[in-house]
């Protein structure tokens, strides 16, 4: 009996092994077949279709296309522009990594040698560059009759570069040059054959300005009258940090704006999330929603501070041109909108000083400031620094200085007087302040609604005394706060939910009495 059992186990074992072995052989064969079938499509040889996403978008503006050779076609011009910018991009990447990847696609045999030699030299000496161009003004000089050769003069190429030796920054430098470039159409790519640098010819283009807001001394002037900001940071009750998302409701916002107006305030601050708005390619439907909000603000006589680049955190030099296009598309669309008071470049960028490097963040902000002024000279710009100490940065680049204050009230007077001394000739705005009325499971001894009211009363007294512009945080208590804002920890989230003047049902809390003075 036992013997028979053993035999059966044997048999079963044999059969299972046999099946498993077969399965393995089949799997092996199919893997080999699958592998033989992989690889590039044959059409890839023709470079008819190069899938690409926008990685490099400096401001490029073509001058005259008149040339003695052949009329330029729009299609070809687009291809030339794309390949020309790609040539710059692969060069920046190559000089950053000292790896010549991609150079062969955008430089011909003879010209790529120059880049290879530079890369070899820099590698040997442990030098690398982080560079980007911000501006191109190409002009078509010549396009050959067979459509295979172009000569371009690219004037006023603004190049920004950081040079590192052994990972230590030696130089941050921006200059303007002019290049004469010959490109050939080879294998479906427009490749650079010659590139000769010239001293730059400066071009001045005049921008017609139609100033909606301006700064005179320490005063903000709107329509020839002094404008003292008495404002509030605004998110709709049910969609905090997602104002332009699925739950966008014109009626809700209109109602809230009435509440704000009736409370005696004259301005609001709103936020635009970088990714939500489509990064380098701003989504038209988002712009429409923003326009709706601005129009509603106009109807309710509210001025708006629009904060850009919320939740953005890259700052790396090669990402600059993408952020510039983002800013460019938004501010250009609203450069004549009368509801806007100012563009806030970014909310609390100083919090990224530690993780991204102070210098990098400041350089980015300073270039974004230039970019926004270029496309919208009509409105003001500011930066929402997270503390009075940080607010001394970049004061020459901005029109008025914004700072946030969440510290103890005792420090208010001294901090403010220090800041006032540091910033002699620019208006100051306390752009965020507030107190949470949360005391519950996560913080049983937290401040309650009465304490919140007391806090705001003191703040308003201070603003009145110092004649200081303010924007409080915030209109509503929120049901939910996204993790991106204060992280995942429940005690932080809960605290963040109860900064409002109105509770989650829209009923005024005691602090509502002290929303302004």
């Amino acid at each position: 009996m036992k013997n028979k059992m053993n035999k059966n186990i044997y048999r079963a074992g044999l059969i299972v092994t046999f099946v498993a072995l077969n399965a393995l052989v089949l799997f092996g064969l199919s893997s080999v077949l699958a592998w033989l079938n992989t690889g590039a499509e044959r059409t890839g040889m023709l470079h008819t279709e190069v899938l690409s996403k926008d990685v490099y978008l400096p401001d490029i503006e073509w001058g005259s296309l008149e040339n003695p050779g052949r009329p330029m076609e729009q299609q070809t011009l687009g291809e030339i522009q794309q390949d020309y910018l790609n040539a710059w991009y692969v060069k920046h990447v190559a000089y950053k990594t000292n790896n010549p990847y991609g150079i062969e696609d955008y430089y011909t045999d003879s010209s790529r040698v120059n880049l290879f030699k530079t890369i070899a030299f820099n590698k040997e000496n442990d030098i690398h560059l982080e560079a980007t161009t911000l501006n191109h003004h190409p002009k078509l000089e010549f396009y050959s009759a067979d459509g295979q050769l172009v000569v371009i003069t690219d004037d006023e190429v603004i190049e920004y570069q950081e040079i590192y030796e052994q990972d230590k920054k030696l130089l941050t430098h921006q200059d303007t040059s002019s290049y004469r470039v010959m490109m050939l159409l080879e294998d479906g790519f427009w490749r650079i054959r010659h590139m000769v640098k010239h001293s730059a010819k400066a071009q001045e283009d005049s921008v017609a300005t139609n100033k909606i807001a301006e700064v005179k001394g320490k005063k903000i002037i709107v329509e020839n009258n002094e404008f003292k900001i008495k404002g509030i940071n605004y998110y709709p009750k049910d969609s905090p940090w997602d104002m332009f998302g699925e739950n966008f409701s014109k009626d809700t916002i209109a109602q809230d704006f009435k509440i704000i107006r009736n409370a005696g305030l004259n301005s609001i601050r709103i936020f635009i999330q970088y990714e939500d708005f489509g990064k380098a390619e701003v989504l038209p439907q988002k712009l429409e929603k923003l326009r709706t909000v601005l129009d509603l603000a106009d109807e309710n006589q509210l001025k708006v501070v629009v904060t850009l680049f919320d939740f953005y955190g890259d700052y790396s030099v090669l990402d600059w041109t993408l952020t510039h296009r983002h800013a460019d598309q938004i501010v250009s669309a609203f450069k004549d909108h009368s509801a806007i008071l100012a563009w806030d470049l970014k909310n609390e960028p100083d919090l990224d000083f530690e993780s991204r490097g102070k210098d990098m963040v400041l350089q980015w902000l300073s270039h974004v400031a230039d970019e926004i002024k270029k496309y919208d000279p009509n409105h003001l710009i500011t930066i929402g620094w997270s503390s009075p100490e940080a607010a001394v940065n970049l004061q020459d680049k901005i029109d008025f200085v914004s700072f946030h204050f969440y510290k103890d009230l005792e420090k208010l007077a001294s901090d403010y007087s220090i800041l006032e001394k540091e910033i002699m000739n620019k208006p100051l705005v306390m752009q965020e302040f507030g107190m949470s009325s949360y005391h519950g499971l996560w913080n049983p001894f937290g401040t309650d609604e009465e304490a919140q009211a007391g806090y705001h009363k003191k703040m308003q007294d201070f603003f009145k005394k110092e004649d200081l512009a303010f924007m409080s945080w915030t209109l509503y208590d929120f049901e939910e706060v996204p993790s991106q804002v204060v992280g995942r920890l429940p005690w932080r989230k809960s605290r963040q939910r109860f900064f409002g003047f109105l509770d989650q049902n829209g009923e005024p809390k005691p602090a509502f009495k002290y929303i302004t003075h």
């Binding site: 530079t118 030299f121 000496n125 050959s144 009759a145 067979d146 295979q148 040079i163 130089l171 590139m195």
Partner: protein, 408 residues
């Protein structure tokens, strides 16, 4: 007394001034000097920048046509020398430099490297399109990019001799570079053939490049037809040919030019056949009609040229035919179908049988001939009526029968 006050003022000014001077000596940048300042160099030349009063920790940043890099100095007797590496000094263009010390920019400047004209010239020439049309409109463009031995485009206004040959005609013309290159349009001739071009720059000759002058567009032409016989037998092939088609300058048009022949028959139907040209002559074929007809034919090179119109007629091939009913009138045998010499008509001639019941058309049946005969079979299950009459059509000839009776 006044003198004394002046003296004191003067003295205090001197002291003040010297104290300022003292401060200034602390700042190195004031004393640093580029000893061998020069605005222009020639590519390939050894380029050194020598500075006074700097030490080893200084560095030189360079920004050139293709490159950016950092150089370290060599120090000798209170002088620092930066030697520009070959790969930078060999390229033409403007070079910007910045003298650095510990992230501080001490001095900036620039110089220009010019292409080395006195070196072995290299010529790249681009010629295209490589095929053009005879006449006075079309042209090829020759772009010449002369370069020095280090791959730098020669300066503007460099003379380029351009040579051109077409049959016996050989000539040269001088052009000048502008914006990296020199160019010229080479006009086509009225005659077909090859144009060869080459160029010479500073004694160096380029290779020869060729463009083909192809015939221009076709002009109007004549057409002819050819038939073995003129009977409408639906079998013989008719052929249409063109005269030798020429372009506006008398050149025979290119081989492969497509000529379409459009044929309008008596019923107004358009038939078409095509042929492509060889040595200017295009030939196209089409099968004869199977009934007497008259065709009007015209040839076209679509969109460009057309021919005269010719007219040809086809005669009746079939004089008469027999119809035989059998199998209780359910089998209808037609034939023999005989052509113009009483020969059996080739297989495939179409015969149509119109079936009527009480003068109303029931159906049209169609068969093709085999060995001169066509047989139709009317089965009882499909044709259950007790009387039918018929009309038979073959090769443009038709016959009708009387009312025939069928058993129930």
């Amino acid at each position: 007394m006044k003198l004394k006050i002046r003296f004191i003022i003067l003295l205090s000014l001197v002291v003040l001034g010297s104290s300022f001077g003292y401060f200034y000596t602390e700042v190195d940048a004031e004393k640093i000097e580029l000893i061998n300042a020069k605005d222009r160099y020639t590519a390939g030349e050894k380029i050194q920048l020598k500075f006074n009063n700097i030490d080893k920790s200084c560095k030189l940043y360079l920004h050139h046509s293709y490159s950016q890099t950092i150089l370290k100095p060599e120090i000798a007797e209170n002088q620092a020398t930066f030697l520009i590496p070959d790969f930078l000094s060999a390229k033409s263009g403007e070079v910007n430099w910045i003298l650095l010390k510990d992230e501080e920019q001490l001095q900036t400047g620039s110089f220009e490297i010019l292409p080395k004209v006195a070196s072995k010239t290299v010529i790249e020439s681009y010629f295209g399109p490589r095929s053009i049309q005879a006449g006075d409109r079309d042209y090829s463009m020759l772009v010449v990019v002369p370069m020095d031995a280090m791959d730098n485009p020669l300066p503007d206004s460099t003379s380029v001799m351009l040579h051109k040959q077409f049959y016996e005609e050989i000539d040269s013309v001088e052009i000048f570079t502008d914006k990296l290159m020199a160019w010229r349009n080479i006009m086509a001739y009225r005659k077909t053939g090859n144009i060869n071009v080459s160029s010479t720059v500073l004694g160096v000759n380029s290779i020869e490049l060729t463009t083909n002058v192809f015939p221009s567009n076709a002009t109007d032409f004549q057409i002819f037809s050819f038939r073995n016989h003129d009977f409408a037998d639906g079998n013989q092939i008719a052929e249409f040919t063109t005269s030798e088609i020429k372009d506006e300058w008398g050149n025979t048009i290119s081989d492969g030019t497509l000529v379409s022949f459009y044929i309008e028959n008596e019923a107004g139907t358009m038939l078409t056949t095509r042929g492509s040209s060889i040595e200017g002559v295009a030939t196209a074929k089409i099968i004869h009609p199977d009934h007497p007809d008259t065709w009007k034919i015209k040839g076209y090179v679509t969109g460009l040229a057309e021919s005269n119109e010719i007219e040809i007629s086809f005669r009746q091939a079939l004089k008469d035919f027999e119809v035989e009913f059998s199998n209780g009138n359910r089998s209808i045998k037609i034939g023999p179908l005989q052509s113009f010499m009483q020969q059996l008509i080739p297989d495939g001639a179409v015969v149509k049988l119109h079936i009527f019941h009480q003068n109303k058309l029931v159906e049209i049946k169609q068969e093709t001939s085999n060995d001169g005969f066509v047989t139709f079979r009317l089965t009882k299950s499909f044709y259950p009526e007790n009387s039918y009459s018929f009309k038979i059509e073959a090769l443009g000839k038709s016959k009708t029968t009387e009312e025939l009776s069928y058993e129930e």
